[in-house]
């Protein structure tokens, strides 16, 4: 499959994520959109990794070129998991205090 397909898919996912974060006020939705963006990036990383590795593999069977892209994906997944736990905890606390998950409700913090 040509690399462009992956790119378009990732671009679409990322844009959906960005727009979701921008327009939605529900903290959980915002959170999911962030996850969407992260995964869009993950998708791209994996795709490019595969592409580069494929080219290098054809020349040299022992090549490790492109491996690091997939390595990053694992990193991101770990970080995202940690983030989820912290983020969800914050949202839970927020709900307990305000009975709402509306992010704009928190702008009172600024004072």
């Amino acid at each position: 499959m040509p690399i462009q397909y992956y790119i378009y898919l990732a671009l679409a996912l990322f844009s959906i994520g960005v727009i979701g974060v921008l327009v939605r006020k529900n903290a959980i939705i915002v959170f999911m959109c962030i996850e969407l963006m992260l995964n869009a990036v993950n998708l791209l990383l994996v795709a490019f990794s595969k592409m580069h590795h494929g080219v290098a593999f054809a020349i040299d069977k022992a090549s490790t070129v492109g491996i690091d892209g997939q390595l990053f994906v694992f990193f991101i997944m770990v970080v995202a998991a940690a983030e989820v736990s912290v983020g969800l905890a914050i949202i839970v606390m927020m709900y307990r205090n305000t009975h709402s998950v509306d992010v704009n409700f928190l702008n009172r913090l600024k004072n």
């Binding site: 974060v21 921008l22 704009n104 702008n107 009172r108 600024k110």
Partner: protein, 640 residues
């Protein structure tokens, strides 16, 4: 013998320290004895030194220690006793002692603590004055110069509860400071050109003056020195402090503001005669200022009604005479007049003090009159003083004034004419004062009349001694045409440059004398006739009012100098400082504050807004990255 030089200023210094520190614990009589004794000791020492100088010539410079040494400039704390300074020493300590003695009685009503303060100040004054005349260089002279200014300030404001006295004291100090600035600049000029401030010696100012100073330098130095003299010796335009200085106790006026301090300017110019003789411009300036001051102050004196104010303007006028003498090159004549003036003006002031004492601090002559019978000694001595100042032969004032007038005639008959007119005015106002005070009938309150009394011996004895000196003092300077030898002239000859010899024919000189004496005699007669029976009791009107108000010079100064200066100060304080500089500084602070408040609005607290901003920034950054070349070139154009 030469070690004695140190003792002269040391005695008054010790007196100052004892009286100053012990003013609370010492009794009044102890304070008086210490204060007067210190000056007497100093006087005796001065006498010894005087005869030493008279018989063996000037005593070599005595160096105490190095005052300032900065390699390029060495200033020694050194004393010099030559003919000129030994004469001044005698005047200062001699008259100083008499006035101290007089003060013990005059100030006897003061509390012990203030009595001690008074004598401490007075001793400090004598100490400073001695430094002034003993100093062997201009810096030591300047030290004494400022010192006497300080003591004058302290003594004018002696009764410090009275605010107008304090203003008078401050005015005196500040006006003197204006002169001092001139003096200081002259000293700097000398240092820059010659690298020394010593008067004499091989590398002294005077020895090097002709060789190393251009005529421009000399003229400026002498004029700047004269500015200093104007302040201290109350010459136009810096004279207005002296009449106000009469706020001080009367013996102070006699000592400081008549006999000694105000003649410091004459001493300074006589001391610098080598320099002055090199500059015609400065000489003429001195003569003209002196002449104008003499006449101007005499006109004011005619209409004053405060006994001390009359004497004060008279002092200003006589000082003008002395400067006239200096300006026309009659240095001896001026120094001679300093001496005789010290005698008779101290006498007149002390006499006035005796009157004021008897009248319970009444100073207005319109409320006096007929004091002749009640105060016989004061009356006689005061009369002798008036005759001396009026220039009636053979009293001392005649000889000294005549010498100056003769020299003025040789210089220019106009100078002489103005001088003689002033002499006539002098005779007139002095006898107006005399007649109003001592002749006629008593015009004071009944209470005052009841208490009228002759002053105690401590006050009359100095009066009698000074009267004797006023009568006889002139005989040390009898000119040759009157069959004298002019001892003073011969005595001072080594320190004064040869005066231009005024070869006036003897006939002319006799005629000049005749005119001035006749004028004085007429003025006296007119004054006595006019004022003994019907003194001026109303306020003056018309031209007289102008004179009585001192030509409105104080008001003029107030309008031209004081008010604008105050306005500028207020303007600086309120406008420039507050709104201008501080406003600018605070403006920067306010701007930062304002802009941060504006920027803070971006921090809305809306998560979406933040994210939007983030996204937009990323987009912009990407664009920049894409267009790196273009953007870089734009920046390059902007900054390089």
């Amino acid at each position: 013998m030469s070690k004695l030089v140190y003792l002269v200023p040391l005695f008054p210094l010790i007196g100052f320290l004892i009286n100053g520190l012990g003013r609370k614990s010492l009794s009044k009589s102890a304070i008086g004895v210490i204060g007067s004794g210190a000056i007497l000791a100093s006087f005796v020492t001065s006498l010894v030194l005087f005869f030493e100088v008279k018989n063996h010539g000037a005593i070599p410079v005595q160096q105490l220690f190095t005052f300032i040494d900065v390699q390029t400039l060495k200033i020694a704390f050194a004393f010099q006793v030559d003919q000129l300074s030994s004469l001044f020493l005698l005047i200062i300590t001699g008259i100083g002692f008499l006035i101290h003695l007089y003060s013990t009685a005059y100030m006897n009503n003061e509390e012990p603590q203030h009595y001690g303060r008074y004598f401490a100040y007075l001793n400090l004054f004598v100490f400073s004055m001695l430094l002034l005349v003993l100093g062997a260089n201009y810096v030591i002279m300047f030290i004494g110069w400022e010192g006497v200014g300080l003591c004058s300030y302290l003594l004018i404001g002696y009764w410090f509860k009275n605010d107008s006295y304090n203003y008078a004291a401050k005015k005196a100090f500040v006006m003197n400071r204006i002169g001092d600035l001139g003096f200081l600049l002259a000293i700097f000029w000398i240092i820059v050109r010659l690298g020394t401030v010593e008067y004499g010696g091989v590398d002294g100012v005077f020895a090097n003056a002709a060789a190393k100073l251009s005529s421009f330098d000399v003229t400026l130095i002498t004029i700047l020195l004269f500015v200093g003299a104007m302040g201290k010796s109350a010459q136009i335009p810096l004279y207005t402090w002296l009449p106000d200085a009469m706020a001080g106790p009367t013996p102070v006026s006699a000592l400081i503001h008549a006999a000694t301090m105000v003649t410091a300017g004459i001493y300074m110019i006589a001391r610098s005669n080598v320099l002055y003789s090199m500059s015609h411009i400065a000489m003429n300036l001195v003569a003209i200022i002196g002449l104008v001051t003499a006449l101007f102050a005499a006109t004011i004196a005619i209409k004053q009604n405060d006994i001390k104010k009359v004497l004060a303007y008279s002092t200003v006028s006589q000082l003008g005479y002395m400067f006239l003498g200096l300006g026309v090159g009659a240095y001896t004549g001026s120094v001679f007049h300093v001496m005789t003036h010290a005698f008779f003006k101290a006498l007149l002031f002390l006499g006035a003090g005796s009157v004021i004492h008897a009248m319970h601090h009444e100073q207005d002559i319109r409320n006096m009159g007929g004091l002749k019978k009640k105060l016989p000694i004061t009356h006689i001595t005061f009369l002798l003083g008036c005759l001396a100042i009026a220039g009636i032969p053979p009293f001392s004032g005649f000889f000294s004034k005549d010498e100056i007038l003769a020299a003025a005639y040789a210089h220019s008959p106009i100078y002489w004419g103005v001088g003689v007119a002033t002499a006539g005015l002098t005779a007139f106002y002095m006898f107006r004062l005399y007649a109003t005070t001592f002749l006629g009938t008593f015009r004071g309150t009944h209470d005052q009349e009841h208490h009228l009394h002759e002053s105690p011996a401590a006050m009359t004895v100095p009066l009698i001694i000074l009267a004797a000196l006023s009568v006889l003092g002139g005989f040390i300077g009898v000119p040759e045409i009157l069959g004298g030898h002019h001892e003073l002239h011969h005595f001072l000859a080594p320190v004064l440059t040869t005066e231009k010899h005024h070869e006036i024919e003897h006939g002319t000189e006799f005629m000049l004398m005749g005119v001035s004496v006749a004028l004085a005699a007429i003025a006296i007669a007119v004054a006595i006739l006019k004022y003994s029976k019907k003194p001026e009791l109303q306020d003056a009107t018309g031209f007289g009012k102008l004179l009585a108000n001192k030509w409105y010079i104080d008001e003029l100064y107030d309008m031209v100098v004081v008010k604008p200066l105050n306005a500028i100060a207020v303007f600086f304080k309120n406008i420039i400082e507050k709104s201008g500089i501080d406003g600018l500084v605070n403006g920067v602070g306010k701007f930062v504050n304002y802009s941060s408040r504006q920027l803070r609005l971006l921090q809305s607290g809306q998560v979406n807004a933040y994210v939007l901003m983030m996204v937009l920034s990323i987009v912009v950054m990407l664009l920049i990255w894409l267009q790196e070349g273009v953007i870089f070139r734009v920046f390059a154009k902007l900054f390089y």
